[in-house]
Amino acid sequence: MKIRERLMSYFKNRSFSFQRFFFESLKTLMAVLIAYLIAIIIIVFVSDNPSESIYWFIVGPFSNLMEFGELIKKAVPLMFAGIAACVIVKANQFNLFTEGAFYVGGLVAALIAIYIKLPAFLAVIAALVGGGLVATIFGYIPAKLKSSLNVNEFVSSIMLNFVALWIGVFLISNVVIDDASGDTATGIIPEISKLKVFITGTNITYGLLIVIGIIILVKIFFSKTLPGYEIKMTGDNQHFAKFSGINVERRVVMAQVLGIFIAGVGGAAEILSNYHRFNWKTLPGFGFDGFMVTIIAKNKPLFVPLAALFIGYLRAGADLMAFNSDVAQEVVAIIQGVIILLIASERFFSSSFFKRLLDNYKERRNHKRMDVMKNE
């Protein structure tokens, strides 16, 4: 128990400060505003009818329940990817196999749903967990290579993404292909294995509840359990963690494996919610998005859903804009890039910057008072 107490005291020292939280929020808001400003300027330049484009982009997702549901639907995989990346980044690792995990998880879930007949509830669980586990087997490779051989997990995981992608494409175009689909895709996923819609009138499925459950579990894991503390500490300062008697290698692997498993489940949930067949022929891109989400959420599990909703809102708006006007939805990429750059930067509106501003103001106020007093 000694180590546990030591860890507790370590994290208590960095207790919550309302002032810092306020400044961080202000910074995020500034980043978002600047990014939006840039995007609007670009839209005005390329669009023939900028006011309509901007209207769809900003107000569109809230125009009716269906569109709002679309926003949530887009945010769910981002929540999965975001919380997966959050766990990995907590240990200060950058295992980008979350990207491939989405692909592998989705494919395996589809295959389990199609080829293994199980009763209703079990069918869904088996597909989700199976997808997660197979993704984890892949994701373990870069994690283990990092911890035991110090191979840069970033490069190796990106390479592994492409390997997983091409193996998957091989499977769906040669082995498990269903010729009736008229496409390179698997057979139809049976209704029994699918995640059902739980708010009628929208496309929101039980995937949303699953990911919220996972986020709460992750939060508990990091704030109440010993392994969670150890992972956080390893991420904060690996040398200190090592000297405190933590098995750093094991924690580094554990964080990555957990993250990859969540991402795999996310891929499975995505396929079981929104697809009739598995037909991905490129990487879905959620892995990188997840890292983006967790940067915006400042790597706090409870803020991940908010950040994911925000990105989902951006994308839903951009889709509506692309559908109703002449601007491509990829304008979001510009907003996203600018936001991450500004939020992640230490010196852009840092809390110390605000503090200096506040101190300056106080000092000037005091001077004024002094002056007034002198004159009197």
Binding site: L149, V155, M159
Partner: protein
Amino acid sequence: MNSFWDLFSSVNFYVTIISLATPLIFASMAALISNKAGVVNISIEGTMLVSALVGAIFSTLFNSAIMGILIACVAGILMGYIFAFSTIKLRTNEILVGIALNILAAGLVIFIVYALTGNKSDYSSVPLKTISIPLLRDIPIIGEIFFNSLNLLVYLAIVIVIAMSFFLKKTVLGIRIRSVGMNAKAVDSIGVDSEKVKIIALLIAGGLAGLGGAYMSIGFMSSFNTGMIAGRGFIGLAAEAIGAGIPYVTALFAVVFGLVNAFSLTAQTITGINIPYELLNTLPYMVTIIGLVVFAVIKKRRNKNNIKG
């Protein structure tokens, strides 16, 4: 083609290797100089993508491949500057900046291509002409491979490898870059602005990545495609990691990856064996991982021996 022997004895195969190795050489040199300055630069992938598009656009605008390449290089330097500004002036985590720039680049190119042409993937360019050198091209085999069907950028890549080695070893700036990578504070203490040196290194890296991108859309193909970089920037990083920071060794591994890539492309045409092309496509990436592992094992052994000695 009937057998592996036919494949390995055909001149075209070797030309393909060199063509596919060239962008990897540019990428790995960009990774090398960033790494020498102590920065892990993963934005090379995005930089290559953006400059591939910029090169294609300006080559058609001026109707000249050379102008396209020059402006692509400038675009690369600009991306390098954004990276340098964020990491050094704004103190952002390098990897996060890299991820941001890669996301930005992937979306930006589609956005621009769509705004210009109305489709979302392709933009044709004015391709670079191949150079055929008289006399030298008449040498059997070697002449055919090296002096008949390659373009200017391939030769430039070779020159850059040699120049990089010279630059890092013999010039003041090169030595400063290396020392900043080793210990930035020590460099500051003798009155050299380490931030400035880092920025210069990153700008050079951006320019090199820009040339690599331009090669893909102007030299290797005659059009830009949004998926054409396909992880080449990252493979460049891997080649640099395996090459242990030595320009020639790094370039050698870039060529090895080019060979694997060329093999995966051409092995489909061999009639005797029947490997599906999807599985052949995994080869370059698998070999990269294996290369990283082998290098790590060798490094670990060496470290152990050093401790013993």
